[in-house]
């Protein structure tokens, strides 16, 4: 997944971005927070503009970074993508080679885009994309040379939309079973994590990874001695209890794989 030779994309930071950044920064209580909000706002606005140029709809007003109270209390730089989820847009300073992700952005995100700011603050460089993992598995520090290519973001968004459409149309009984089991009206919140599992895990590892994900949302703790290898093996299910849940996990990821592999 390392993409050291990936192509980065320069994006302009418009004057409007600075206007919003000044407005939002003025609402903060101290210098450190003002700087944080200023730079977060610049990056969110620049990525918003970039996605719009790529014909991807966005909704700044529905983003936490555009909510005055949430940005006052939390270090957020998200951009809402309607019917898909929130994309976190983190700024990178010129000399940084790793980034710390604040705990408030480690869940309820579809992924992370990193933008290195230029000293002039008139443009930035999109360095790459990081997929959403299980909240408990998300790294608090991200090595920037391990990011995925930005094209992965487009692939990811496409997959999320295909999955959401398929689930909304209820094209397979497995979706209803998962909703019922997880007590979820819709699966939007976990689709990004399922997509990441599909893209980054080997086929043999997916069953275990999706079962783990289900257990997280059901609030079921993992057995102390269990590691991912154990739960990823079908024959290990007996030791870990819920074969039915693992079967459901496998059915779901197989169905989604079918949808995503058939997209072309």
């Amino acid at each position: 997944m390392t993409t050291k030779d990936n192509q980065t994309i320069n994006i302009p930071i418009q004057r409007e971005a600075h206007n919003y950044a000044q407005q939002f920064a003025a609402q903060q209580p101290n210098k450190e927070k003002k700087t944080q909000v200023y730079l977060n706002t610049l990056v969110v606005y620049a990525v918003d503009n970039f996605l719009k140029m790529m014909d991807i709809s966005t909704d700044l007003e529905a983003s936490d970074s555009w909510n005055p109270l949430i940005r006052l209390y939390h270090n957020v730089a998200d951009l809402a993508i309607p019917n898909i989820g929130q994309l976190e847009c983190r700024y990178v300073l010129p000399e940084q080679d790793e980034i710390e992700l604040p705990p408030e952005v480690l869940e309820d995100r579809i992924g992370y885009v990193f933008v290195r700011l230029e000293n002039s603050l008139k443009s930035g460089e999109i360095l790459g994309f990081l997929s959403m993992d299980e909240p408990d598995e998300m790294p608090e520090e991200v090595e920037l040379d391990e990011l995925e290519d930005i094209e992965t973001l487009f692939e990811c968004l496409q997959n999320l939309e295909l999955a959401n459409n398929a689930i909304a149309a209820d094209i397979d009984p497995v979706f209803a079973k998962v909703k019922e089991r997880l007590e979820m009206e819709d699966l939007t919140n976990i689709i990004a994590q399922l997509e990441s599992i599909y893209r980054t895990k080997k086929k043999s590892e997916r069953r275990g990874a999706v079962t783990d994900l289900f257990e997280t949302y059901l609030g079921i703790g993992k057995p102390e001695s269990a590691d991912n290898l154990v739960v990823s093996l079908k024959e290990g299910d007996d030791e870990n209890g819920d074969i039915e849940l693992s079967d459901l996990a496998e059915d779901l990821i197989n169905k989604l794989a079918e949808i995503w592999e058939g997209k072309e």
């Binding site: 192509q7 980065t8 994309i9 320069n10 302009p12 418009q14 004057r15 600075h18 206007n19 000044q22 920064a25 003025a26 609402q27 903060q28 209580p29 210098k31 003002k34 700087t35 200023y38 014909d55 991807i56 936490d64 909510n67 005055p68 109270l69 949430i70 006052l72 209390y73 939390h74 309607p82 019917n83 300073l93 705990p103 408030e104 480690l106 869940e107 309820d108 700011l117 230029e118 000293n119 002039s120 603050l121 008139k122 909240p135 094209e151 487009f154 968004l157 496409q158 939309e161 997880l182 007590e183 979820m184 009206e185 819709d186 919140n189 997280t216 949302y217 609030g219 997209k263 072309e264």
Partner: protein, 240 residues
């Protein structure tokens, strides 16, 4: 909502035959001797394919044709040296070529935006003679990174006072709205756990502790709590 661009992404992924045609045309153009009729002919064929496969972004701007002509010239000067780099893209060649032409290479997309921005700026100058000077943020006074990290960017007075967070905290406690069947999960309870704990409590944990499905929590937060947070903030501040 996001259909059109995915159609284009799909097309990009399916463009294998187009990839071959374009690669052959570029290779043919690049191997011709400069300033020969053969090279001109090869370029004409290549450019017709470029237009046929809709590689360049388009714009209704009256100066777009001139811009496209500039792009055509730059394309002919750079494509042979940058061909291999573009081909190294992960998706189809058509997709990589579009990214190169419109964004990171020839920057046609950005240059179209510049045209639109110039128009907007011109209109603003003509129509807003009374616009505030400090709010204009023209290129001359856009803060740099050094300015921002040193706190030298804020022409506006801090809008919130020391006691503002206390007032907010009191207002948040009044948000007793909750999902049907889960009276324990008020917006006040959620944000007590999110704002006043360090680190903020995870939604998965809140869902478990308040004994409601994760999805019900997230939907309630999105539909009710977040708009209410905006509302109380604006009310306390007298409008943002």
């Amino acid at each position: 909502m996001v259909k059109s661009k995915y159609v284009s992404v799909n097309q990009m992924c399916n463009d294998k035959s187009n990839d071959d045609l374009l690669c052959e045309a570029i290779a043919n153009f690049c191997q011709q001797t400069p300033e020969t009729r053969e090279r001109d002919k090869a370029f004409a064929h290549l450019w017709s394919l470029i237009l046929k496969f809709q590689i360049p972004r388009t714009s209704p701007h009256p100066r777009y044709p001139d811009l496209l002509q500039e792009i055509q010239l730059e394309f002919s000067q750079r494509i042979c040296t940058e061909f291999e780099q573009i081909k190294a893209g992960k998706k189809s060649f058509v997709h990589s070529l579009r990214l190169w032409m419109n964004w990171y290479g020839l920057r046609l997309g950005f240059r179209i935006m510049d045209l639109d921005r110039e128009d907007k700026k011109k209109n603003e100058r003509e129509t807003s003679l009374d616009a505030p000077i400090s709010g204009g943020n023209n290129d001359g006074n856009t803060p740099t990174l050094v300015d921002v990290t040193a706190g030298k960017f804020d022409p506006m007075e801090t809008l919130i006072r020391e006691d503002f967070k206390e007032k907010l905290s009191a207002a948040i406690q009044t948000l007793v709205c909750h999902p049907k069947d889960y009276p324990q999960c008020t917006c006040a309870e959620i944000y007590k756990r999110r704002f006043y704990r360090n680190p903020p409590q995870k939604f998965t944990e809140i869902s478990k502790e308040l004994n409601l499905p994760y999805q019900a929590l997230m939907a309630h937060n999105r539909r009710k709590c977040k708009p209410l947070l905006k509302k109380i903030y604006n009310e306390l501040l007298g409008g943002e």
